[in-house]
Amino acid sequence: METLPPAETAVVRRIVAEHKGRPGPLLEVLHAIQSALGFVPAAAVPVVAEGLNLSRAEVHGVVTFYHYFRHSPPGRHTVSLCQAESCQSMGAQALTAHARRRLGIDFHQTTADGEFSLEPIYCLGNCACSPAAMIDGRLYGRVTREAFDALIAENSLPP
């Protein structure tokens, strides 16, 4: 199995040490790892397991159960499109098809230049302003194809 680079191992160990004393800490630990590294590397699993005195299987089981935890690095921007009923009633499927064409990728993929990852999401709680999208934690409502293109263009600018 791949091992985690020393710098990342140190990050994971620090996170585990910070949360270890709290009740039921595993989800909190995984959130912190994803915040720090952008995803939860498979090689982090044994480090977490050892630190929390769990089996690797237990940690792997939790990481893979939850949709939110990524197993690979995300693009520079993460674009999530709501696929749930409310957004469907306002054309989410057509918007999704448009987004796939515009970015040239499918769900769970990242553009070749590493700029955008496209993810499905099931409800952002913005159902009175459907269809909804989230880009890097910013919420957007009443998203038309034109508005989507404008957001992608805005986020494509050099930092």
Partner: protein, 512 residues
Amino acid sequence: MTATVYIPADAGALSVGAGEVAAAVAAEAARRGVALRLVRNGSRGAYWLEPLVEVVTPAGRCAYGPVSAADVSSLFAADFLNGGAHPLALGLTDAIPWLKGQQRLTFERVGIVDPASLADYLQHGGYRGLTRALALAPTEVVQTLTASGLRGRGGAAFPTGIKWKTVLEQPVTQKYVTCNADEGDSGTFADRMLMEGDPFSLIEGMTIAAIAVGATSGYIYLRAEYPHAAVALRSAIAAAYQGQYLGADVAGSGRRFDLEVRLGAGAYICGEETSMLESLEGKRGEIRVRPPLPAIKGLFGQPTIVNNVVTLASVPWILARGADAYANFGMGKSRGTLPIQLAGNIRRGGLVERAFGLSLRELLYDYGGGSASGRPIRAVQVGGPLGAYIPPAHFDTAVDYEALTGIGAMLGHGGIVVFDDSVDMARMARYAMEFCAIESCGKCTPCRIGSTRGMEVIDRILAGVDGERNVRLLEELCETMVQGSLCGLGGMAPFPVQSALKHFREDFRARV
């Protein structure tokens, strides 16, 4: 005099440009040398008017909306700070008919107060419920809840007082109060609005629960899709600790209550209470077999209250005003008010808090103004992805737990998703199975396997393969899932499918 302007920082309002409007208002005021106090409130819930800008005038708060950043300089030119006339002017906010007819109890402060300010909360009647609860014996607090008729607003509609009584009666020292803020149903956003717009009411409700049942520790299990609510809650919790409404000596009572937010990770099933408890313990969100009930053996094996956000946030009102005041609203066994969420293809979408009993038709047409597309409404889904699709023939049904059950539907968390006549109900039925397949926790076979087989069977129907036989097979499969699943996900995911088959069979026949 410094003018006070309210511009929501609610995630939904921000999603349509409230942040840009607030920045433009601040910049324009600076450019003109006008002093103003800008308050970032929650949303009033009239999302069709967001971004809604309000300004305080001697007559009351005046509203303008929907405002875009480009409108801001013309608003200043029209002297909106003194309620001046403008094409976007809506008059007094409280007089807007859509808002005026509502009965805001649980949402009485949402959109009104500064959600980040404990002082504002106190000024608007906050913590009166806790003060009252501290003056009562625990059994009296529980009795008040029982007498109010409050039922769980998350969807299961279980009487809150009875749940609390069970926890109170457990003779152990370590108990927990948990809030289920995993609002995953499409078409619902009441929890989000409340947590962002009046987070202290949830904190107060949980504190009252803790005092009533003898718990010292609480968790809010919040879905990861709600980052704005996480910020609002954490800031309010910090302020409540600072003001000694949380911690070792709650409001000088000598009682301890600690509260923290824990984030979910994108699993719909964690809105099921036992799955949520597993997740809070840091495990896979697989459901637990009941009994034992969480009230007897819940978080970390201890007696635990699990209530939804709106349920807990209704508690302070009930304690402050009394059980009868709350029970006087509503009909039959559905007492009090319900924050109903109008969503999807609807012209005037948003949050309508009213006593139980008004009809779907009033909601869809009087409040909602019909579909956003202008086409006829063909179906509404009430109660989230596990709720039935209801055809126009049933639109006179009252919003009431029993009345909706009576037509084979369910009220759930009070979300109503509207579809116009372009909807393909066979596709929506397929989506219901697909969603169940994606979100199944995998513990029981009818849900884990049944949902995938259900998707395949509907695909065959859509492809015109052996249509009639496959429709019969689908009906049998639905029955198996309903009867054989361990929890509500597999047990209710067939409801939208069955209702689509029952009320919109022509959409399946077209391919047979």
